[in-house]
């Protein structure tokens, strides 16, 4: 490739990624999966102990401050940069959780609802104790415990937990790795420079902006 390259500015739009869960479908899958999600939906006190280490940059569009704090804590572990190698930006430096909040505000309301339910489940110390022997709220667990819990979701025999892990994993990786700030670190020079398109002719189709 000989085309000169330059960096393009991001349009500021939030990112692509993956869907959340559907409760009814999992209910059909068997008692354990169903009971888990019901539990996730009826954990009224789960956020009482949530540590709000991660504060949003601006007004949230879908999540509550507690839900955002859980997502922030999850994102910090899912993406690199949390102390491992100083060159890599941290999740909060790229506003991963904020971008995910903005994106999930535009998907079907049911999906957004299920996503919030999922965050509640991740925060639950009861579930943490059962699956990874880690009884504290996710936001209060150590980094190693948090990793162990995500690992338990990832490798679970329960389809529900594997799906839940994929939902947060993909959202975090999508927002992080589509950020121009990390392109150089992964050896991606960015999009090539292309000639500026000519201005539209009269009679060109109306632009839909």
């Amino acid at each position: 490739m000989t085309t000169p390259r330059r960096w393009y500015n991001c349009d500021g739009m939030a990112n692509a990624s993956e869907n959340a869960l559907d409760r009814r479908r999992f209910l059909k899958r068997g008692l354990f999966g169903g009971a888990l999600l019901l539990a996730g939906g009826s954990l009224p006190f789960v956020f009482r102990t949530t540590r709000r280490d991660w504060a949003p940059r601006g007004p949230l569009r879908l999540l509550s401050a507690d839900e955002y704090a859980v997502l922030g804590a999850v994102a910090a572990r899912i993406v690199p940069g949390d102390g491992a190698d100083a060159r890599w930006p941290r999740a909060d430096a790229l506003d991963c959780a904020g971008k995910i909040d903005a994106l999930m505000a535009t998907v079907h309301p049911d999906v957004g609802h299920d996503f919030r339910r999922l965050l509640r489940l991740i925060e639950s110390g009861v579930l943490g104790a059962v699956i990874a022997g880690s009884p504290r709220p996710f936001t209060r667990a150590s980094a190693a415990q948090q990793d162990a819990r995500l690992e338990a979701w990832r490798r679970s025999r329960l389809a529900l937990l594997r799906s839940g892990y994929q939902a947060v994993k993909r959202l975090c990786h999508a927002t992080y790795y589509s950020s121009p700030e990390v392109y150089e670190l992964i050896g991606y020079p960015g999009p090539p420079l292309v000639p500026q398109p000519v201005e539209p002719k009269a009679g060109d189709a109306v632009r839909g902006r």
Binding site: D11, W88, V206
Partner: protein
């Protein structure tokens, strides 16, 4: 001569409550645009409703962070219910063609024969379709396969297959003046890719059709066996929430072409024409299994035409499910989504991005006893796609992984990495048996689909098919389907060109019948 129509976006549309035209076409991808062009050329007044926004090459900034939310269904979030298969499906004026990777194939004769033998499809052979393929190929500038299109990513697929005697072929691409940037999937910033927006839809607009963007069809209204209107929500683009209603009344007919997931969902939501019991059933995805190989020299799979080589050596495996190989472009976000693990484990894989090669195996579903997936709609309108991975497909996926690994080793890969949740590293033939032993199942290995087909199958038996062999609905006499949902099985090749050609045939016959009078 008819005055040209125009493309109207949601912001303007909020003040227009309704329109009355001859034909309402839902969807502006290959199926909808072609139908609109043919009908408008025959003198009919056509309205095209498109859920996505209207973007032009000036908008295409080649950034994944913009392109996937703007140009893909569910903002890039579409997936099966359990998230095991990510669905790449376009959503903008131009539909899937805006983000298509340009690979153009005619429907294989083997597939047409299967439809005739097992699915009651009549009068649809290669000869019947040939003039319609020619018309589509001409309009979207399908070339003949250019060796200069082969980037390093595709070169490895080619060389590995050639060494093993697996007959690699050059892919015919729908481009004109292609600069080989490599960003087809994010919208072509040069308009060198021939999309429906720049071809058939432009023809339709020139012949008087109006295109309503940001306009999501939610119901087809029927009355005594006839479709009379399509009710749509006008979307606020930034929030993707309805801001107004729009009703398009159809004097003559309605053509559905929202794609193989949205079209069945629209019929289900409308509770219209469901007597066959086949709407939303037998959805096929060419479930796609990627394999990554690392080379000592840079591959830079982010640049150059995304797909230029295909291998169909394993398309016919007799009693077992067949598959074919192509490549996928390797941009940071798409690759990061596909790579397993998290944190530093994941980072160490992503760091090798420039040296990665991605071969994909597309499983040819629906040709055996496998029934594919299903589309359903929840009470509040949410589309739910399910795709259970049956044993014949699992067998094919695992076999394909082994064959792709063998191919990569033959092409000189330093090592091959599977996308199991715990990846296998394969450095020699001796490591291959590990593939069969590794767990393969939902969310245990990366899978995606860029080819959605079926869900409203054609065929002449009204108890087994939704539409007849010319796309006309068996129950609703003035409703046609001209997208990939009519395919009774998957195709075994990239479907875009087949959708153009079938739509061209169906619309030509709609126009001819209308000309003959009622």
């Amino acid at each position: 001569m008819t005055a040209p129509g125009k493309i109207i976006s949601g912001t303007e549309l909020a003040d227009i409550p309704s329109a009355e035209v001859d034909y309402v076409v839902v969807g502006s991808g290959p199926g909808g645009s072609t139908a609109a062009a043919v009908l408008a050329a025959a003198g009919a007044h056509v309205a095209v409703l498109e859920e996505g926004g209207h973007y032009t090459r000036r908008d295409f900034n080649m950034q994944e962070s913009w392109a996937y939310p703007a140009l893909y269904q569910e903002h890039g979030n579409r997936a099966t219910e359990d998230l095991s298969i990510m669905i790449l499906q376009g959503r903008s004026v131009g539909g899937g063609t805006t983000v298509n990777w340009t690979s153009s194939f005619r429907t294989p004769e083997r597939t047409l024969a299967l439809w005739a033998a097992r699915h009651g499809v009549r009068g649809l052979d290669a000869a019947t379709l040939a003039p319609h393929f020619e018309a589509a190929e001409k309009r979207i500038d399908v070339g003949t396969g250019d060796p200069a299109d082969v980037n390093a990513n595709n070169r490895k697929l080619h060389d590995g297959a050639a060494k093993l005697g697996w007959e690699p072929e050059l892919i015919h691409r729908s481009v004109k003046g292609c600069a080989r940037l490599g960003y087809c999937g994010m919208g072509c910033p040069l308009d060198a890719k021939r999309t429906s927006r720049t071809t058939f839809l432009a023809d339709a607009v020139a012949a008087g059709a109006d295109v309503y963007a940001d306009c999501r069809a939610i119901l087809v209204e029927t009355d005594r066996g006839r479709a009379r209107a399509v009710v749509a929500e006008v979307l606020d683009r930034a929030a993707d929430r309805p801001r107004a209603r729009f009703v398009a009344y159809a004097r003559r007919g309605v053509v559905l072409a929202g794609g193989a997931i949205n079209t069945p969902a629209l019929l289900l939501r409308s509770k219209a024409g469901l007597d066959s019991g086949q709407v939303g059933r037998r959805t096929f995805l060419h479930p796609t299994v990627p394999l990554i190989a690392f080379y000592d020299q840079p591959i830079e799979g982010f640049y150059g035409p995304p797909q230029s080589v295909a291998v169909h050596h394993f398309a016919d495996r007799g009693d077992r499910v067949g598959y074919f190989f192509e490549t996928a472009p390797i941009h940071p976000m798409l690759a990061a989504l596909a790579f397993p693990g998290f944190g530093d484990t994941h980072r160490k894989i992503v760091e090798r991005l420039p040296y990665a090669q991605a071969t994909i195996a597309l499983l040819i579903d629906g040709h055996h006893q496998d029934e594919g997936g299903s589309v359903a709609v929840s009470r509040d309108g949410r589309i739910k796609l399910a795709y259970p991975l049956s044993e014949p497909l699992r067998e094919a996926a695992v076999a394909a992984l082994g064959d792709m690994a063998r191919l990569q080793l033959a092409a000189g890969a330093r090592e091959v990495m599977t996308l199991h949740e715990t990846p296998l590293i394969i450095r020699s033939e001796a490591d291959l048996p590990a593939i069969a032993a590794a767990p393969f199942g939902p969310n245990r290995h990366t899978m995606f689909s860029a080819h959605q087909m079926g869900g409203a199958a054609m065929g002449d038996d009204p108890t087994r098919a939704v539409v007849d062999s010319r796309g006309r609905h068996h129950q609703i006499e003035n409703l046609w389907i001209t997208d990939g949902s009519v395919f009774p099985t998957s195709l075994g090749v990239n479907p875009q060109l087949s959708i153009y050609a079938h739509a061209h045939l169906f619309a030509t016959e709609i126009a001819a019948a209308a000309a003959r009078g009622p």
